[in-house]
């Protein structure tokens, strides 16, 4: 028997487990070399597209969010 498990916004959810301050906030996880956003919390989804390059995020949005590597 094989079980397949998927989690919501996996890397973003992982960061929140050990850092509960991040709950409810728009957070995103960056790929290798801080390139692109590869995981977004639900609060970040309306602000930033999946896979968006970090440098392309507009400054007014960049101020409101937390990006983690």
């Amino acid at each position: 028997m094989i079980g397949l498990v998927d989690c919501n916004n996996f890397y973003a959810s992982c960061e929140r487990v050990f850092n509960p301050k991040l709950e409810g906030k728009p957070i995103g996880i960056l790929s290798n070399n801080d390139g692109c956003v590869i995981a977004r919390s639900n609060e970040l989804k309306p602000l930033v597209a999946m896979g968006m390059a970090a440098f392309q995020i507009p400054p007014n949005i960049r101020k409101q969010i937390t990006l983690m590597r």
């Binding site: 509960p20 709950e23 409810g24």
Partner: protein, 149 residues
């Protein structure tokens, strides 16, 4: 800063067995048993204390809000996240975005987080952003302190 602030130090590693000799006869402060030379049984602390290693973490606790539960400043807690918290359990809770160590209790039928120190009032769980992170199963208190051994 919350009383009894907690820092997660890491996940339990049950992959390496470190056997230390176990003294089978209970150690009383008195006459030692001549049979103590024949130590056969070995004990690995992680194996002995931790039932769910993939869900158990070491957490350092700071502050004195749980002294009544024998948890003191700088103690090391062993916390199992797979257990269902019950009334009376010492738990790690995320309160206002910070991990803190408290006792889960009932006051007038409502769940509260109780301290083990009369100086700190209970925290009501109703209408608050509180999440029970894990159940504290053991506390390690160093008598000599880790730097002065």
């Amino acid at each position: 800063m919350h009383p009894s602030r907690c820092i997660v130090l890491g996940l339990v590693d049950a992959s390496v067995i470190n056997h230390l000799p176990l003294v089978d006869t209970p150690v009383r402060a008195g006459f030692p048993s001549p049979a103590d030379d024949y130590l056969e049984t070995k004990l690995d602390l992680t194996e002995h204390l931790v039932k769910h290693p993939s869900a158990t973490y070491y957490i350092k606790v700071m502050g004195d809000s749980m002294v009544d539960h024998s948890i003191f400043n700088d103690d090391l807690l062993i916390v199992d996240r797979s257990l269902t918290p019950q009334i009376g359990d010492v738990v790690i809770a995320a309160v206002d975005g910070e991990l803190t160590c408290k006792c889960l209790g009932l006051i007038d039928g409502q769940h509260h987080l109780l301290s083990g120190n009369a100086l700190y009032p209970p925290i009501a769980l109703v209408g608050k952003e509180v999440h029970i992170w894990g159940v504290v199963i053991h506390t390690i208190h160093s008598l000599r302190g880790l730097r002065n051994s």
